[in-house]
Symmetry: C2
Subunit: 325 residues, 2 copies
DNA sequence: TTGTAGGCGTTATCAG
DNA sequence: CTGATAACGCCTACAA
């Protein structure tokens, strides 16, 4: 079934059908309705391949799916992907997946995807300092949005991000409000934008409260085991903390285990509000992932339709209170 | 850049370039090499839209992405998706994502996707008794594979599945081998194919060992809390079990918590070998998800290329021993 | 408003 | 083995 079938069925020219589809305002009211009826009656759908060949646009956006490194934090990308698929859907776009081992492979994939499928845009996650991917895409003038700030040059391209510092700040304030003073922070080594941001929220909030907590900061790789190890170390010092803010739920889960094993009561707050946190009653900072995905699509459609929108979106996370703090 | 650019560059006709791409064997050796060189030199990529218009094939397969219900088990689909994307990639196919609230919506989406993008095939996950989706697709003669058996009519369409019963059987045998006799099973209510299958493995293995364990079976919804509740109940009976096999890692995690809280030593084995299980040292049954994804793609390409392959694949899971059993 | 002509890049058909 | 030609379904002029 083609546009001609619809035209015949509605007693109009093919051109009119095309107009109803692409420029409804220039078609007379009743004609338009008649055509619309024919379209639904026949279940007609414009063939994207033909449309793309003519317009050069595919209504396809690509997102990379990463190997599950850490099962707990992996669900974050999962939820983002779900949100993205849904919002893209609503905006008339489809999401295409790809994988890549490293940045070079990923760039090669861009080339591939662009050449073969004429992708309209890319959504990148997990930006880092000096990201070569954004440079390549920008150089080719391929539309893209990142979920995560470009840590080097904030103005260089459209992005959506969550205010990580505000998240840990909220967590720290909550602990201060409930009487805690010795509040530790278990995070990642300096160098990752996200990790540094989460650290900053704790540090500045503690400083604002006039508390020197430099000795309560621990840096480690992510994971339950690492969290447990660090928390155990903190709890066995001369002046142990009474609470801890963690850069991830994995770390927090480990910390929680250390707290329980050593029998020392201490409040624990995680980050990402993963379903595991919900299951074990862990208080955690929740990222608005669905909203982030929606804003990404919004930014993208804005760029694709040539409408100027504010290209930088910083969303606020929310603290979800449960049993551990 | 089009096929004509390559043809000019290699001093041949457009048709010859097309032949090199689609039927290399009918082109003379040196000509083929010259064309190949031109292709790589120019970085040429066949335009899928044009190709699709001509051949009616898009080299696109669709997979549904589900909302994360349970964060722990959610990672299973995640890993499957990753494997699928990778293998599809290698076979020259791309993965397209879609969401749907229920079966009817999903079927409507099939219609959409098929009409607009001419999808080559679908991969369905989470099959259930009397699945309307497979019926619709079969009725339209759309190629598809399911990851999960069609529980009603095993022969009705190509599928790949993991032998769940064998997984719990392995777990149960391991516990028997290490001296356990009172081995409990915490699973889901009867009615789901996967759940019943996992229950069967435990039941038959116990029966084969001559042990009556009917009183040690508990059915509940999935989740850590449910697992903890059920295990706690089991442990406080007159004759508590010394070990438990769970239908999921979530349940097992809960059971583990109950074991630790009550101070009763008991072995625990989970199912799915999620990264969380790895993190906490939980012994678990591992599904070969990458292999499953690969077989799905294999089956699909077989169908699409008209090659007859065995359309039913049952993969064996493996028990991953850690600290809890 | 409607109809007609042309072309997007590819592949299939058919003659050389 | 190579070269010309038509066709896939759609959209954008342009003329009516």
């Amino acid at each position: 079934m083609t546009i001609a079938t619809v035209a015949r069925h509605a007693q109009v020219s093919r051109q009119t059908v095309s107009n109803v589809l692409n420029a409804p305002h220039i078609v007379r009211e009743d004609t338009r309705r008649r055509v619309q009826e024919a379209i639904t009656a026949l279940g007609y759908r414009a063939n994207q391949a033909a449309r793309q060949m003519r317009t050069g646009r595919s209504r396809l956006i690509a997102v990379r799916i990463e190997p599950t490194r850490d099962g707990i934090n992996g669900s974050v990308l999962d939820r983002f992907l779900h949100g993205l698929t849904e919002t893209a859907d609503a905006a008339g776009y489809r999401v295409m997946l790809y994988t890549a081992g490293d940045d070079n492979q990923e760039i090669a994939t861009y080339d591939d995807l662009l050449g073969a499928y004429d992708l309209d845009a890319f959504v990148l996650t997990g930006t880092k300092h000096g990201d070569p991917r954004t440079a390549w895409l920008a150089g080719r003038e391929v539309p893209f949005v990142t979920f995560g700030r470009p840590w080097d040059a904030p103005e260089s391209h459209p992005w959506v991000d969550v205010d990580n510092a505000d998240g840990t700040a909220q967590a720290t304030r909550r602990l201060l409000d409930t009487g805690h003073r010795r509040i530790a922070f278990i995070g990642w080594p300096t160098g990752s934008g996200v990790g540094d941001d989460r650290h900053t929220g704790w540090r500045t909030t503690m400083a604002a409260a006039g508390i020197d907590a430099a000795d309560l900061r621990r840096s480690t790789e992510d994971g339950i085991a690492a969290g447990e190890r660090e928390m155990r170390a903190l709890l066995t010092t001369a002046e142990p903390p009474t609470a801890v803010v963690c850069a991830s739920d994995s770390l927090a889960l480990g910390a929680l285990q250390a707290v329980r094993d050593t029998g020392t009561p201490a409040a624990v707050i995680g980050f990402d509000d993963t379903p595991v946190a919900a299951a074990v009653g862990l208080t955690s900072v929740s990222q608005p992932l669905a909203a982030a995905a929606a804003r990404c699509v919004e930014l993208l459609t804005g760029v694709l339709d040539g409408q100027p929108t504010n290209p930088h979106v910083l969303l606020q996370p929310a603290l979800v209170l449960r049993h551990t703090a």
